[in-house]
Amino acid sequence: MDLTFTREQDGFRAEARAWLGAHVPGEPLRSFDTAEGAKQHREWEAILNGGGWAMVPWPVEYGGRGANLLEWLIFEEEYYRAGAPKRINQNGIFLLGPTIMEYGTPEQKARFLPKMASSEEVWVQGWSEPNAGSDMANIQTTAIRDGDHFIVNGQKTWASRGAFGDWLFGMFRTDPESERHKGLTFILAPLDLPGITVRPIEQLDGLPGFAEVFFDDVRVPVEHQLGEEGQGWQVAMSTAGFERGLMLRSPARFQDTARRLVELYRANAADVEDAIRDEVARCWIGAEAYTLETFRTVSRLLAGGKIGAESSLNKIFWSELDLRMHELALEILGDRGDLLPGAPAAEGVGSWLDGYLFALSGPIYAGTNEIQRNIISERLLGMPR
């Protein structure tokens, strides 16, 4: 066990810190779930990509810098430390990207990854359907082979970034006679194809963070199939593993929230109950524990290990921690916690209310925490189905 960084890793950190220090926008951007904010975030991603920092663990040829997962965690630490913008293309770079790396053909990698890294193409998640939420295997949207195209019919919903995104990925039923996990295929589709209708849905914060996507005889070229036909479930589980764990939710995010929580407590210590102080300390410990467990996992992965159902443990841990931290922050702020940013007395309330609303979605998306507990009990503990 060696818990120190090498000189090379320290050098990598210093390089990232210097670049981010020189380039991170001074003013916070608007939410990427607004038209103006989406534009701002794409511009930021172009700058990030220009510096070669868009997706550091990817090979250079696809817009990365060939870093390993440990350096990825270091970069993330520096990214959050610098207060850099949220990643508008997180569905692409953190979820679909690694999946294409694993299952894509050389042509698909060359076609999709560079534009994903640069956010010229922003990706939309097409998992859920009206009748396939927690019961994901109940997908009913069909993609029937017709020569060198699929003819797609049906509906996806809760499609994150649907309002301002460009391409959608998801599972489609390519064998209409099939049931459950069989007969599904992972397909990528540009949202500007004829027959696609996108209807944005306002989320709890009032912004269109996701959308319904309707498919009416949409012709999608077969070269946009990812992985084998009928193997969509296996491909999707790979994507979900990244979503539940270290790519989408690297520890830096929560370390940063914990730091801000401690600072908020310090600034308001005179006005809050002692019991809150203990809860703040517990949250800080939680962020540390999440960090340590992630570094442990990455050490294992770098040595050739695999991650499987363990990502369900991550998902529960970070989502509950994130929510708890935001709940506490609002408790510390007291009556001011409910103020919108524009309220006259809102100085110093920061973005905790917005963060709280977002944190409430954590136990729901990427598979509800109840589904994760099923996975943990059946696949990690070996309990009966």
């Binding site: 370390q255 401690v262 410990i285 009990s377």
Partner: protein, 351 residues
């Protein structure tokens, strides 16, 4: 940066796990409960044969010469086994204390610890009772700001029965004399401080093992026990109780392992890391006790069912070497210091 244990360390863990599984069953523990001391000199000698008591004793004194990183996986195994012998007091705390004191005392006692011929108990100044005093040959005890090494014959022991028949604690009094004093002032304070960290770390590691064992017992039981025509472990209400324990356990483990590394390397953040570890590991174990009891229903509430052997260990470990509020206070103090470095990128820095 590599958070993994090496192959030798993992191999030793497997060896010790297999050994303890063979030696210590619930029947063995229950049998010891019926004895006067709840300790077995034969078992202690057997443990010495595989090197457990002398794990932290330097090789020159006949020990294994290992450090806390090597030891932490084995301590977890002793917790999994429900081992009640004085591994924490003698092997994890007293041995490195004596190593720190050095001189004739170390020369005299460390070899005996390694061979299983001596049990050494430690009465920490911050704790009211002394664990395993009733079987100790030598006791390391506080008097004011001094540290004394006192032979069993020279102390008065008043046993204090507890809720866990495996846990034997006592009030200890003795007459401090020039001849028993082995350190004072800053030297003694330093020894007490590291002793506290080592004791808390060892309890945290044992708590992980106890928690894992309770999970295993509950998974087995709920897979067998049928109601409504199905194993109760197929019901989500039951599954989710145990999944919640698994989450807490798996996020406590790396905290404990990092604390072991900090103790072994003498990190300036050692105390902070140990307190975090003690807190989360014991919380996982106490939570595990509650959840696994619930999953058993009434049978778990009987003396006959073995689950409570480990439930009581979980409660005992939570109470040993600093209760949770004390450890939380240490964490709180560290992170609320005005110049505390927090946030992304600070986890592995020693400043």
């Amino acid at each position: 940066m590599d958070f993994r244990f090496d192959e030798d360390q993992e191999l030793l863990q497997t060896t010790v796990r297999d050994f303890l599984e063979g030696e210590i069953t619930a029947e063995v523990v229950r049998g010891l409960w019926e004895t006067k001391t709840a300790r077995s000199p034969e078992l202690w000698k057997t443990l010495a044969e595989i090197g457990l008591p002398g794990m932290l004793v330097p090789e020159e004194h006949g020990g294994m010469g290992m450090d806390e990183v090597d030891f932490v996986l084995l301590l977890e195994e002793t917790g999994r086994a429900g081992l009640a012998e004085p591994i924490v007091a003698t092997a994890a705390v007293a041995a490195p204390m004596l190593r720190g004191v050095g001189g004739d005392l170390a020369k005299q006692w460390l070899p005996k610890i390694a061979t299983g011929d001596a049990i050494v108990a430690v009465g920490h100044p911050s704790l009211p009772f002394v664990e395993d005093a009733h079987v100790a040959d030598l006791l390391l005890l506080p008097a004011g700001d001094e540290l004394h090494a006192v032979l069993a014959a020279d102390v008065e022991i008043t046993e204090q029965p507890t809720n866990d028949p495996s846990r034997r604690i006592a009030s200890v009094s003795f007459a401090a004399a020039e001849g028993t004093r082995i350190a004072s002032g800053a030297d003694a304070a330093q020894l007490w401080e590291t002793a506290f960290d080592r004791g808390a770390l060892a309890c945290a590691a044992q708590a992980l093992g106890a928690c894992d064992r309770m999970l295993q017992i509950a998974v087995e039981y709920t897979s067998e026990r049928k109601q409504f025509g199905k194993p109760i472990g197929s019901f989500q209400a039951v599954k989710h109780h145990l999944a919640a324990v698994k989450v807490k356990l798996e996020y406590a483990r790396p905290v404990v392992q990092r604390a072991a590394h900090s103790v072994a390397s003498g990190s300036a953040k050692r105390g902070l890391h140990v307190s975090m570890a003690k807190l989360v590991a014991c919380e996982a174990a106490v939570f595990g006790a509650k959840q696994t009891l619930q999953c058993h229903g009434a049978i778990g509430y009987t003396w006959e069912q073995d689950l409570h052997v480990w439930m009581r260990r979980a409660w005992s470990l939570d109470r040993s070497w600093g209760r949770s509020p004390a450890h939380l206070a240490r964490v709180r103090a560290a992170i609320l210091e005005p110049d505390a470095r927090l946030g992304a990128g600070t986890t592995f820095s020693n400043a």
